[in-house]
């Protein structure tokens, strides 16, 4: 009998709910029953409520079981799960599992499917095709393809990637850099982490294509320290890529050099702002820089620098491999391609939903998410991280694309959606937004540094039941100053959750008596 392949995610989220213990128990019982198995620690499929999701290779299919706890393992063996036997935890063929099968996975196509550090597995699933094609093109041709695809920055700003790359290409300098922003600090977002842990070669390939395109020989990935497993996995993948001649003095034998270094963050949210990140990579305090100059002209160590988010760079291999036309056939309007949405917070079926832009908020939350975890009614959702707007269920028909969200007074950000049930108090959330800004402000500009503290104090007075109208006027005025007067998005966007909470949930602010509603 041949060795049975058993996939048990090694992803941090899966491990946080017991995947390591389940892997040990399955190995132990297989040994005891003298069944030869090979345990592969894949990335997560992104259906996080099913973690640990154990998959067994049966013929050409993978049969899934989840969520598996250590206590379930003996019963799974009794149900012959190693040959795909039926069990109450069985979700059937994973490739036909509707929640996954109905998605359109481009950036995440290999995550959960492959052994993350196996270069042959990566290649067998379409890896390096984009890079090989890029090596046959000129820098300008690669950039034309990226521009044509409509790919925009997935970190939050939504700036067209091709234009940024073109600026770096056209800025003459012997030294240029590719910086990958993996400081995924927004609460409710985790796609960068899952990709780096589950399919790190895709990011390496994307960065290498960027380097070849603009003529940079060195790349940095700035990963937040809260992601130790992602740091370890990407570091290991870089070593493998060097060993196989992907990275180094001659990328795939092309004679063109490119290599990647990792820098860990220091637990500072503002370092996700691109110029603060550059300062931090340079080993300094993460204080925001004034723009201009744009980092594309004078960035890391004063050199022309491409700065892109993990998901932006990880989408590039697919754009090059399948062509711009294929990528931009997805999405709507000026939001082309797919977006990796992340369902988080009080949600029954939380996880990664990659689909074309334009899907409705309601389809994500009540469709994929299946409503709240607590079973109570959903009261609010925050889209786009701690600087994003709070929306109410009345907004569930909102199409999820860059422009529609801006028109509705919000922003897509990094695609995270945090769901709250009726227990949430939006005045408390508004105060938290200001407090968070006060803690994380780099301190360079006054509207952010001082405004956030004054904002938190003002909202506290509203919570304490002081007269609403004068405090509301004060808060609106303060928010205007912060929005217009801050140097970066930290102070400039903190008013967004505050204002949207006040506009969409006025009942939580008006007529409060001594801290209660």
């Amino acid at each position: 009998m041949s060795v049975i392949k058993v996939y048990i995610p090694g992803d941090s989220a899966a491990v946080s709910v017991g995947a390591d213990e389940v892997a040990l128990e399955i190995s132990r019982l297989a040994r005891a029953s003298k069944i030869e198995i090979e345990v592969i620690r894949n990335g997560t499929r992104g259906a996080l409520w099913l973690e640990p999701l154990v998959e067994v290779q049966v013929g050409d299919d993978r049969i899934g079981y989840g969520p598996v706890s250590v206590d379930d393992v003996a019963e799974l063996f009794a149900s012959q799960f190693l040959s795909g036997g039926s069990h109450s935890l069985c979700i059937g063929k994973v490739s036909e599992f509707h929640w996954l099968a109905s998605q359109d996975r481009i950036t995440f196509k290999r995550v959960g499917l492959v052994d993350p550090l196996s270069i042959s597995d990566y290649q067998a699933h379409g890896g390096w095709v984009g890079l090989q094609r890029a090596l046959t093109l000129s820098g300008a041709e690669i950039i034309a393809e990226v521009s044509e695809s409509g790919l925009r920055g997935r970190g939050g700003a939504g700036f067209p990637a091709g234009i940024k790359w073109k600026t770096v290409l056209e800025t003459e300098n012997e030294t240029k850099y590719i910086c990958c922003n993996a400081d995924e600090g927004d609460s409710g977002t985790y796609a960068d982490r899952i990709l780096m842990e589950g399919d790190p070669f895709t990011l390496i390939e994307g960065m290498t294509i960027a380097g070849i395109a603009v003529g940079a020989q060195e790349g940095y990935v700035y990963i937040r320290s809260e992601y130790p497993a992602a740091i370890a996995q990407l570091s290991a993948a870089i070593l493998v890529a060097r060993e196989f001649g992907i990275l180094g003095s001659s990328v795939l034998g092309s004679g063109k050099a490119f290599d990647i270094k990792i820098r860990a963050g220091g637990g500072s949210y503002v370092c996700g702002e691109e110029t603060a990140m550059l300062e931090s990579i340079e080993g300094k305090r993460g204080v925001v820089r004034s723009k201009p100059p744009l980092p594309a002209i004078s960035g890391l160590f004063g050199k022309p620098t491409v700065i892109n988010n993990v998901l932006t760079l990880a989408s590039v291999p697919a754009v090059l491999a399948d062509g711009a036309a294929s990528y931009k056939s997805r999405g709507v309007g000026r939001s082309l391609g797919t977006q990796v949405f992340q369902l988080a917070g009080n949600v029954k079926q939380g996880g990664i939903v990659e689909t074309g832009f334009g899907v409705s908020l309601g389809e994500l939350i009540t469709g994929y998410g299946a409503g709240s975890l607590s079973g109570k009614a959903i009261k609010a959702v925050q889209i786009g991280g701690p600087l994003g707007a709070y929306f109410a269920p009345k907004n569930f028909d909102l199409p999820m694309d860059y422009e529609s969200l801006v028109a509705a007074g919000g922003m897509l950000g990094h695609g995270g959606i945090v769901i709250f049930d009726t227990d949430v108090d939006l005045a408390i959330q508004a105060k938290f937004a200001m407090e968070f800004c006060a803690i994380e402000s780099c301190g360079k500009c006054t509207p952010c540094r001082v405004g956030s503290t004054r904002g938190a104090e003002t909202i506290q007075r509203i919570i304490d039941g002081e007269e609403f109208e004068p405090h509301k006027r004060l808060l609106l005025d303060l928010c205007e100053v912060m929005t217009d007067g801050s140097l970066c998005a930290m102070g400039g966007l903190t008013p967004m959750p505050v204002m949207s909470a006040m506009i969409n949930f006025p009942e939580d602010f008006e007529n409060r008596v001594g801290g209660t509603k």
Partner: protein, 141 residues
């Protein structure tokens, strides 16, 4: 997590491989903390002289980043995520319970990227999803 006790030789050995790196101050502080569990005052002077920067520059970086600490670590390091996604599943209540039990060994964190399986708590570097006081106690003992 075991850490060495401070010695200038050990610290010099930690810093030595970083001398070729551009902008080494933050990675130097991180390496010192990794080795000794915190950044002792003497390390600031050593980093300044090793990389030819002012002590003020090193102090500035040391005091900017939440991760870096200037006092030895306590027995357990319990970080609880108090960002929005975990708030939505009760991290504020969990924070109160943990702080009552474990006092100053508990500190706030903003997001471990486990936002669909919150509340998230990290105990001595190990991430716990759907955290409860019982699950945390299991790791702390």
């Amino acid at each position: 997590m075991t850490h060495s006790s401070w010695s200038i030789d050990a610290a010099t050995a930690v810093l030595q491989p970083l001398s070729a790196e551009p902008g080494p101050v933050l990675i130097a502080l991180q390496a010192i903390q990794e080795e000794f569990g915190y950044v002792p005052t003497q390390a600031v002077t050593l980093i300044a002289s090793t990389f030819n920067v002012s002590r003020a520059d090193v102090h500035g970086v040391l005091t900017f980043y939440h991760d870096l600490r200037t006092t030895p670590p306590l027995e357990h390091e319990i970080k609880i995520c108090v960002a929005e996604a975990c708030q939505a599943v009760g991290s504020r209540d969990l924070e109160k319970v943990l702080k009552t039990t474990y006092k100053d060994q508990v500190c706030d964190a903003f997001c471990f990227g486990n936002c669909a399986l919150g509340p998230a708590v990290m105990v001595n570097g190990k991430l716990i999803g759907r955290a409860t006081p019982a699950k945390v106690a299991e790791e702390v003992k």
